[in-house]
C-alpha cells in the first residue's frame, strides 16, 4: 500500500534558521492533525509536502510522488495555504473557476465544480462578490473551497480554522470529517489541541522543527492532563481555603500571594475543578475567581521537552 506521506530524514532550513529537521515518518492517510505551537515548523513541513519548497536534506514523497513542481501529483492534491492571500479583484466564483480551469478542467465542468465547492463552504450567496471585500473568515472559506473543488485524493490545509467564527468553524470541521469519511486523505494543521481532537484521533506533533509524537490524540490529551497545572484562585478567605485545598488529591502546593491570590499546583485539575465549589462553601471562603494558567500547546511542549533544553 502506498502511504499518503513518507518522509525520510527530512530537513529544511532558511539560512541559519531551521524550519524542520530530521523528520522521518509514514502517514497512512485518513484524517490527520498536524499539531504544533507557532513556529514549530508546521507550515514548512506542509510547504515541503505540497512542493512549494524543496528539502535541504532528506526526501519526502506524497502519494508516491516527489512533490516539487510535480503536475501529476497536483491533480490529486488540494492545498489551502496559511497566508491570507487571494486575488482581491476577482469574485469567489471567478477565483475557483480560474483555478479549476488552470487545473485542466473544461469550462462547463469548472463552473459546476466551483458552484458545488462554494456551496460546501456556504459561500453561494457571496459567490459573485469580490474577494477583496470579504471578511477574514470568508476568505478562509474561499481558500478551503479552492483546495477541495477538484475532488483531490489528498487535501492539505494549513491552519484552516483561523479567522472562522464558531458556526463556520463547526461547519468546516464537519466538512473535513465528511471528506475523511469519503476516503479523502486530509491533513490539517493547527496549534489548538481541542480543534484537532474534534476532528481526528491521529495526531502528528511537531516541536521546534522535529516530530515530538505521532499517534492518537487521546495520548496527547493524557499528557496534557497528567502534567502539573497551575491554578490561580481569588478568594475572600484565602488562608482558610488554602488549608482545605492541601487535603485534596493531586494538589502538591498552595501558596498565598501578597494580594491574597492563591497559586495552586495540581496534577489532578479535574478533581480540583469538581471539588472547589463544595470546599469553598464549607469554608465560606468566598471564591471570586478561578484561572487555569496557560493551557496552550506551548506549555505542554515546555513540559515535554523541558529537560532537553
Amino acid at each position: 500500500m502506498t502511504h499518503a506521506v513518507v518522509a525520510q530524514d527530512l530537513g529544511r532550513w532558511y539560512g541559519d534558521v531551521v524550519g524542520v529537521s530530521d523528520i522521518s515518518l509514514e502517514l497512512e492517510g485518513g484524517v490527520v492533525g498536524l499539531l504544533g505551537a507557532n513556529g514549530a515548523g508546521k507550515s514548512t513541513f506542509l510547504k515541503l509536502l505540497v512542493g512549494e519548497l524543496r528539502p535541504s536534506r532528506g526526501s519526502i514523497r506524497v502519494l508516491g510522488e516527489e512533490p516539487f513542481a510535480n503536475a501529476r501529483l497536483y491533480r490529486q492534491l488540494g492545498f489551502s495555504p496559511q497566508q491570507d492571500a487571494l486575488w482581491s479583484d476577482l469574485t469567489a466564483r471567478e477565483t475557483l473557476e480560474f483555478l479549476l480551469r488552470v487545473g485542466g478542467f473544461a469550462r462547463k465542468v469548472a463552473v459546476e465544480r466551483a458552484e458545488r465547492a462554494l456551496a460546501r463552504v456556504k459561500l453561494t450567496d457571496a459567490a459573485d462578490r469580490r474577494v477583496g471585500g470579504f471578511s477574514k473568515g470568508m476568505r478562509q472559506r474561499v481558500r478551503i473551497a479552492q483546495a477541495i473543488a477538484h475532488d483531490p485524493a489528498f487535501v492539505v490545509l494549513d491552519e484552516p480554522l483561523n479567522g472562522l467564527d464558531p458556526l463556520a468553524r463547526r461547519d468546516t470541521l464537519q466538512l473535513f470529517r465528511e471528506l475523511g469519511e469519503s476516503g479523502t486523505h486530509v491533513l490539517v494543521s493547527s496549534h489548538v489541541l481541542h480543534e484537532v481532537e474534534e476532528l481526528t484521533r491521529t495526531v502528528l506533533l511537531l516541536h521546534r522543527g522535529r516530530v515530538l509524537a505521532q499517534g492518537p490524540a487521546s495520548e496527547i490529551r493524557a499528557l496534557l492532563d497528567r502534567r502539573p497545572r497551575r491554578v490561580a484562585i481569588r478568594a475572600r478567605e484565602p488562608r482558610k481555603l488554602a488549608r482545605a485545598l492541601l487535603s485534596l488529591d493531586g494538589v502538591t502546593s498552595v501558596r498565598v500571594g501578597n494580594d491574597g491570590e492563591l497559586d495552586v499546583e495540581t496534577s489532578r485539575l479535574d478533581e480540583l475543578q469538581a471539588r472547589l465549589p463544595q470546599i469553598a462553601a464549607e469554608e465560606r471562603a468566598g471564591v471570586r475567581g478561578f484561572t487555569v494558567a496557560d493551557a496552550s500547546l506551548d506549555s505542554l511542549f515546555d513540559d515535554l521537552v523541558g529537560g532537553a533544553r
Binding site: 486575488w87 487545473g103 485542466g104
Partner: protein, 260 residues
C-alpha cells in the same frame, strides 16, 4: 506543449482585464502620454522646431531612450513578481500546469496592453508634433513609421527582459531600472563594441536604418556605429525570445518562499 499553450492562454485571459484595472497601468499610461504633452506644449509655445525636427529629436531622446524602457520595465516586472508579492503564486504552482505558463501568459497580456498604450502615446505625440510651427523638415512617414515600430518593439523587448528578471530576482523593477538607466544608458552612449550589449543600440540602429535623413541627423549626436536594420531586428527578437526561454527555465526550477 498543449498544456503550456492552454494554461498560458488562461493566464493571458485572466490577466488582461486585471491589467486594465491596475494602478500600475495607469502610471504607464501617464508616462506614455508625457511626450505628447511636451510636444503639444512645444508646438504651441515655441516658434521652432519644425514638425520633423520635433518628432525625430523628441522621439529619439525622450520616447526611445526614456519612455520605452520605463514603461516596459514597469509593466513587465509585474509578470512574476506581482504573484510573489501578493503571495498568490502558491495557488498556481500547486496546480498541474507548466510553471512557464505563468511567465508566458502574463507576459503576453502585458505585451498587448503595453503595445496599445504606447500606440496611443506615440500617435498623440506625432499628432502634437505635426502642429509644430517651425519651418524646415516636415513630419513625413519616414519619421513616423520607424518611430512607431521601434517604440512598440522596444516596449515588448524591455517588458520581456523585466518579466524574465522576475524569475531570477526579488525586485525585478529595481534591477531593470538600474540596468536600463545606469548601465545601458552608459554603455549605449560610449563609442565602441560595448554598444552591442544594449537594447538601445539595436533600437536606434533599426530606426536609423529606415534611411530617413532626419534619423541620420539625430543619430549623429551620438557616437555610435549602427547596425543593419535586419541585423538589429533579429537581435531584438532574439533578446525577447531568449529572455522568455531563460525566465521560463528558471521559473520551472526555482522555489519561492512565501511568508504566512
Amino acid at each position: 506543449m498543449r498544456a503550456l499553450v492552454s494554461s498560458s492562454a488562461l493566464l493571458f485571459a485572466m490577466h488582461v482585464p486585471r491589467l486594465l484595472r491596475a494602478r500600475r497601468t495607469l502610471i504607464v499610461l501617464i508616462l506614455a502620454l508625457g511626450p505628447a504633452v511636451i510636444a503639444w506644449l512645444a508646438s504651441h509655445l515655441a516658434k521652432s522646431p519644425s514638425p520633423g525636427e520635433l518628432a525625430s529629436n523628441a522621439g529619439w531622446l525622450l520616447i526611445l531612450q526614456v519612455v520605452v524602457p520605463l514603461t516596459g520595465l514597469v509593466l513587465g516586472s509585474a509578470a512574476v513578481a506581482e504573484e510573489v508579492d501578493d503571495r498568490t503564486l502558491t495557488y498556481l504552482f500547486t496546480r498541474p500546469m507548466p510553471r512557464a505558463a505563468l511567465l508566458l501568459g502574463r507576459f503576453a497580456a502585458i505585451a498587448v496592453v503595453l503595445t496599445a498604450i504606447l500606440l496611443i502615446g506615440v500617435a498623440l505625440f506625432l499628432l502634437a508634433a505635426s502642429r509644430a510651427r517651425g519651418e524646415g523638415e516636415p513630419l513625413v512617414a519616414g519619421i513616423a513609421r520607424p518611430l512607431l515600430c521601434a517604440t512598440l518593439l522596444g516596449g515588448v523587448v524591455y517588458a520581456a527582459l523585466a518579466a524574465a528578471l522576475g524569475a531570477f530576482v526579488k525586485h525585478p523593477m529595481i534591477v531593470g531600472l538600474g540596468y536600463a538607466f545606469a548601465i545601458e544608458g552608459f554603455l549605449a552612449n560610449l563609442p565602441g563594441r560595448n554598444q552591442l550589449l544594449t537594447v538601445q543600440h539595436h533600437l536606434r540602429s533599426w530606426v536609423a536604418a529606415s534611411g530617413e535623413p532626419a534619423w541620420g541627423r539625430v543619430e549623429s549626436f551620438q557616437a555610435s556605429g549602427l547596425l543593419e536594420g535586419s541585423t538589429a531586428l533579429v537581435v531584438l527578437a532574439s533578446i525577447t525570445i531568449g529572455a522568455l526561454v531563460l525566465g521560463s527555465w528558471r521559473l520551472s526550477r526555482r522555489e519561492f518562499v512565501m511568508a504566512a
